[in-house]
Amino acid sequence: MIKLKPVNTPSSPSSTYNQQIMRRFFKHKLAVISLIFLCVIILLSVLAPLIAPYDPNRITGGFSQAPSAEHWLGTDQSGRDVLSRLLYGTRISLLVGFMATLISTVIGVVLGLLSGYFGGWLDMVIMRITDMVMSFPYILLVLVAAAIFEPGLTNIILILGFVDWPGVARLVRGNVLSLRETNFVKSAEVAGMSKWYILFSEILPNTVAPILVYATSVFALSILDEAALSYLGMGVTLPTASLGNMLNGAESLTILTSKPWLWVPAGSLIILLALSINFIGDALRDAVDPTSTK
């Protein structure tokens, strides 16, 4: 979209890059709904201690009771309130997803920047390590790591964080390779600016958008991975609730068929979270792409 404006009226407020992105983002109805949904979920999980009707780890009713006025989503096999556990579990799952994404993005960005900007043997070494990490069967690597280090909240965050970075590293490296040839980077070099200034002040701001888009998919993936690991008993350990280990009950066929309140809430929340994060990512990608005409 090209907006013509008179050149000599600099006082007119102009739409900044960020405003343009916002405008394009809000054209995606699905993404806006997803964003609202995600915000509500985040708010509920953050406020869990205030709104949860029961202590998530206390036995407050009979075993595997169906939903009732006292227990809106019923109780689990140990007699704990499912709704309370769901609120706290979402908290843990979001925390794991967010922290793992943060760790892997930071690692990936730093390695990608170094690799792309300095090139040479450093690029060679970093990219071979990246290839190696990428070529391992993902779930196997995570399982082995979880077996070696004890399962637990911190470890699961670290494991997922250290496994997800290669994609980010490659993405950033590719961007840096093209950005370092641009004239504005060249002119910073001619101005004698330091390498760190060029990397973090000239190059990095221009790759933030694609990194952000990629990070959303890592976020969704991390939530799914946490759920998978916890379901297998290698992730967040009981009694701490997470969306994954709440699905443990679904291992048995009788529960699967006759006591859906034990697994449907957690299962559908995982799906909805992953889906809405991906929708947001899609919209972000379109919004930051200057060639998109939507």
């Binding site: 600099p10 102009s14 890059y17 004239n183 001619v190 101005a191 600016m193 701001p205």
Partner: protein
């Protein structure tokens, strides 16, 4: 006047890698032994067609690329082998304005930061004085002061190029390499930018290396002009001399290629060059222009052409025209006199259409 910049025998070869085990299979000779000097406070125009190596020279002078060999002496100091620390200090004195004003400004930075960050980095001003310094720079290049709070994409091409010039000026340079600064702009804007550059030069006592391929702009701004062809300078003279009586056949062709604004003169001679620029990977022995030269002769294919001083301050890399103009001068790599007789008809005068008859004969190219 002292020479502010002395470029001596500058060479830049780019290796071409190939083969199963990557190794250098060929070399692109982008710049192949170029020497020139620029006096302080003057402008040297560097012209030539795309790919002749003129931009590479500019990039080497501002140390974006390392020369393969040769030296660049700036303010009495060879800058080709400085350590990076020494170079950082020197860099403020040597700045560059880029061709494309759209890609030379960081889209994510406000003009204020584009201008102020380098000044703060080099302690030209403190964080506190930065706004005042930026205002001063914007005034100098004719932009409204409110421009500093805006992003590059909010400006037109000409305005962006003004920001690019302001950025180059920010560090108080003494020499600015202008790499085709007006080629990407509208014709109406070109004149504004050229005038701005001229004014700044007088006001600040700057020295310019103006790289361009449009002869009009180069002539307007330059004191001296060097014409390049395939990595070598083929002619160098005062701007007016070069236009009034070019000696090298290539310069003549370049001059004649410029569109003539007067329609009544449109049909006057002006023969276009035939043929293509040769490959810089496979440079012919002898004169590089021989394949396209209307006056080529067999000797041109065997002897490397050196720049000789045909008249005071007028250098040309073609012994025939040079000898003809001056009798004998300079040191040619050829035994001069034996060609004297034939050159007479080739380029006897400064009228561009003298040698029509000669061109017709040139097919055989051998009438020694």
């Amino acid at each position: 006047m002292t020479e502010q910049l002395i470029v001596e025998n500058l060479v830049k070869y780019y290796p071409v890698k190939g083969g199963i085990i990557p190794h250098t299979v060929a070399q692109i000779k982008a710049v192949d032994g170029v020497s020139f000097t620029i006096e302080g406070g003057t402008t040297l125009g560097l012209v030539g067609e795309s790919g002749c190596g003129k931009s590479t020279i500019g990039r080497q002078i501002v140390a974006l690329e390392k020369p393969t060999s040769g030296s660049i002496i700036f303010d009495g100091e060879d800058i080709t082998n400085l350590s990076s620390d020494q170079l950082q200090k020197k860099r403020t004195r040597l700045q560059m304005v880029f061709q494309d004003p759209y890609s030379s400004l960081n889209p994510r930075k406000k003009v204020f930061h584009i201008l102020a960050d380098p000044m703060i980095h080099h302690h030209i001003c403190t964080k506190e004085d930065a706004p005042a310094k930026v205002d001063e720079l914007l005034d100098m290049v004719g932009l409204h002061r409110s421009a500093k709070d805006r992003f590059p994409h909010e400006f037109s091409g000409g305005q962006r190029q003004r920001i690019g010039i302001a950025r180059a000026l920010a560090l108080n340079p003494s020499l600015i390499v202008l790499d085709e600064p007006v080629s990407a702009l509208d014709v109406s804007i070109q004149a504004q930018i050229l005038n701005l550059l001229k004014d700044l030069k007088t006001k600040l006592g700057l020295t310019y290396l103006f790289i361009g391929h449009g002869l009009g702009a180069v002539r307007y701004i330059s004191d001296r002009i060097a014409v390049m062809y395939m990595g070598k300078i083929v002619e160098m003279a005062d701007a007016d001399t070069l236009f009034s009586h070019p000696l090298h056949p290539y310069t003549k062709a370049l001059r004649d290629a410029a569109p003539v604004p007067d329609p009544t003169l449109r049909d006057a001679v002006h023969e276009a060059l035939s043929g293509e620029v040769g490959s810089v990977m496979d440079i012919p022995v002898g004169c590089r222009f021989q394949n396209r030269c209307p006056y080529a002769r067999p000797e041109c294919g065997s002897v490397e052409m050196a720049l000789i001083e045909a008249e005071p301050g007028h250098f040309v890399a073609c012994p025939y025209t040079a000898i003809n103009t001056q009798g004998v001068s300079g040191t040619s790599t050829m035994s001069g006199t034996q060609f004297m007789a034939d050159t007479q008809s080739v380029s006897g005068s400064d009228k561009s259409d003298t040698s029509n008859s000669d061109r017709q004969e040139k097919g055989g190219a051998a009438h020694v």
